[in-house]
């Protein structure tokens, strides 16, 4: 194989017919001069755009019908012609850089030598950080146990992708229970309601996981004052598309009510009705605040406090927010609320445990 070109985070490799390449395969492009290798994964296979191939094919087509013949090719150059026709282009995504010691880093912005580099297949199980400080057992591959280091998942965005039925949910649940077992606080935004029985096994036995399931009108209530201006404004803007002009007016109203110690959703709605502002602003605010009211997420009398959430998830607890059968709007509002609250918490907290949390967005 040879490097053809690199564009952004993609590398195109020329693969000859005798070189086995499949979509999904990993390769490492080792540059001896730089003592490192670029780890790439084939995401697409195409025919190499060799000049004259179309003419060759058109000419070959002529022999499919009434035209037949014989090639006297003493040097067997036709085999080279066919090899060129079958040459493929593997479009690969750059996944990272493998250092000389075998460690993987996310660096993708360097160029390996086109002429001196060697390209070889890379076994995908080498990417799995077997063992580690906090091993999470995933199963077996070819008889060998496979585990990942839970501490390696920390601090970054981890995405599980795969086709339908390939085991994404199963893997996610396995990871969730494992890292909860390691004491990490976990929050799950469960779109399909498939995590609500996570603490029970197939045969009905309970696992040791501390699971709390809440949902709209089922223990999951918030108060405006407890959420704070930033979170509520974020919900109105990002989840409900409140225009910026109206958002400024809302901020003014909020501060006014907050100063008067009368900050609840009904009082906010009332204040908006009587506020001196443009009709369109009033309408924009009223309609969105009504959506919040009807969502069933706000109960000033019995709100879910931050302390209660923390108590639920501390030391390896799992809070499952059941979003099954909820509308898109409610889901978006809840995602925005949780992101806002977690952001607030991270800003306040000076030190973090190794595993600070796991949010699963399923769906």
């Amino acid at each position: 194989m040879r490097i053809y070109r690199k564009e952004a985070d993609e590398v195109q490799l020329i693969a000859f017919p005798d070189e086995h390449v499949q979509k999904g395969d990993y390769f490492v492009i080792e540059d001896p001069a730089q003592s490192r290798g670029l780890l790439v994964q084939a995401i697409d296979l195409q025919y190499a755009n060799v000049p004259g191939v179309l003419e060759d094919i058109l000419r070959d087509v002529m022999t499919d019908g009434e035209l037949s013949g014989e090639d006297v090719d003493p040097l067997n150059i036709s085999s080279q012609v066919d090899a060129l026709k079958d040459t493929r282009l593997a479009v690969c995504k750059i996944r990272g850089t493998i250092a000389q010691d075998g460690s993987l880093s996310p660096s993708t912005s360097w160029l390996p030598s086109r002429t001196a580099s060697k390209i070889r297949p890379y076994a995908v199980n080498r990417l799995i950080m077997n063992g580690g400080k906090m091993p999470v057992k995933l199963g077996h591959n070819d008889g060998e146990p496979i585990s990942v280091d839970a501490s390696g998942l920390d601090g970054g965005l981890n995405i599980i992708t795969g086709r339908k039925g390939s085991g994404k949910s199963h893997l996610a649940k396995l990871l969730l229970l494992s890292i909860a077992g390691w004491g990490a606080p976990c929050i799950v935004l469960d779109v399909n309601g498939e995590y609500i029985n996570l603490h029970k096994s197939k045969d009905g036995r309970q696992s040791s996981a501390r699971l709390t399931v809440l949902g709209p009108r089922s223990g999951l209530n918030f108060s405006m004052a407890k959420l704070g201006l930033r979170t509520v404004a974020g919900v109105l803007s990002h989840a409900l598309d409140l225009p910026a002009t109206s958002s400024k007016v809302f901020t003014t109203i909020w501060k006014d009510l907050e100063a008067r110690g009368d900050l609840t959703l009904p009082t906010v709605i009332q204040a908006v009705q009587s506020w001196s502002c443009h009709d369109s602003v009033r309408e924009a605010l009223t309609s969105r605040l009504q959506v919040l009211m009807e969502s069933g997420l706000f109960d000033e009398a019995n709100p879910l406090t931050e302390e209660r959430i923390l108590h639920t998830i501390e030391g390896g607890g799992v809070l499952v927010v059941n979003l099954k059968n909820q509308s898109q709007i409610v889901r978006r509002i809840l995602v925005e609320i949780f992101l806002g609250e977690l952001t607030k918490r991270r800003k306040r907290t000076c030190t973090c445990a190794i595993l600070t949390g796991m949010i699963l967005l399923r769906g």
Partner: protein
């Protein structure tokens, strides 16, 4: 080519536009006197004859593969095509590779100002290449002349011979073999340098719509000495279909006018005529032509089998003149 081991090859670039050497259509320019045309040459209509006769055609082409330290590598290929009642068969020979050295110790034979005159090829290289290609093509023509009976054998080019690159004895032998098999040889040229008053002769007769043939042998011969150039065929201009182009058509001299008309009628009636050009000959040309992919494959073959390293030298013209630095004559 064994001596190339370990050397370097500067491969030619391949593109769909600038592709290759001529394949033997060249002929010398000949000005025919206008008075000859004024004499009024006879136009004979060609009537398509639906008689199924064997029609065979052949063609050869050559292409430069690259430059070595000591010369150039060329590839030659030849094709023979037979049209039969129920099918069309072909045999293709090649690519055959040749390394033509720059020097054979007889450089004083060639003028310095002629070097690199022909698309980057020296006169000597061009002559050697032409000789080789002609040799291969004539060999295939001999095979056809021997194998086709009671039919028509089509060549690409003309039946003009007599140069060292194209000895007349060989062409005569081919024509004789064909005659012995009761076949007639007809050569079609896709282009001609025959002119009248500076205007290409094909332009004088293009207006006529019906298939026809005009014998201009007497006119042409008057302009040439008897030797060394010999017109082994009768030089004609023909149009094989109403919508077709005119082509210079050389027909075996031994065939009389009537036989020639019958042969052309059989071609017009048996073969598919594509813009005035017989399909059998067209297929021969298509199959003998090298595509860019094939040139790359040959370069690859040379590099791997003869342990030659490919080192593309920068194209000086492109470096200096950018997109204006191409020559359509560069091989």
């Amino acid at each position: 080519m064994q001596s190339l081991r370990g050397s370097t090859l500067n491969p030619r670039t391949v593109s769909l536009v600038d592709m290759g050497l001529d394949d033997g259509d060249s002929e010398e320019q000949l000005e025919i006197g206008a008075s000859s045309i004024a004499m009024g040459l006879k136009r004979n209509p060609i009537n398509p004859l639906r008689e199924s006769v064997p029609i065979a055609a052949c063609d050869a082409s050559s292409v430069k593969i690259g430059e070595t330290e000591t010369g150039m590598i060329f590839a030659i290929r030849a094709v023979a095509v037979w049209r039969q009642p129920d099918r069309i068969a072909f045999t293709r020979w090649g690519p055959l590779l040749f390394h033509i050295p720059n020097s054979d110790g007889h450089q004083e034979k060639y003028r310095d100002d002629e070097s690199r005159a022909f698309g980057g090829l020296s006169v000597k290289t061009l002559r050697v290449l032409t000789k080789l290609r002609n040799h291969v093509e004539r060999w295939v023509q001999e095979e056809l002349a021997m194998s086709v009976k009671d039919g028509v054998v089509l060549f690409d080019g003309s039946l003009t011979a007599g140069t060292p690159d194209n000895p007349s004895s060989r062409v005569q032998r081919i024509l004789s073999t064909a005659r012995n098999n009761n076949s007639i040889v007809i050569a079609l040229s896709k282009s001609t340098q025959l002119t009248v008053g500076g205007k290409n002769i094909l332009g004088f007769f293009d207006a006529e719509r019906i298939p026809h043939i005009i014998d201009i042998t007497s006119v042409v011969e008057n302009e040439y000495p008897a030797y060394p150039i010999r017109f082994l065929g009768r030089v004609c201009v023909s149009k094989l279909s109403p919508d077709g182009f005119l082509f210079r058509t050389d027909i075996d001299r031994d065939a009389d006018e009537q036989q020639a008309l019958v042969a052309l009628g059989r071609i017009a009636g048996t073969d598919v005529i594509f813009h005035g050009y017989p399909e059998t000959l067209r297929i021969a040309h298509i199959f003998s032509t090298f595509t860019a992919n094939e040139i790359l494959a040959v370069q690859r073959f040379v590099a791997s089998n003869h342990h030659v390293s490919l080192q593309a030298r920068p194209n000086l013209r492109r470096s200096l003149f950018g997109p204006f630095g191409t020559s359509r004559y560069v091989a």
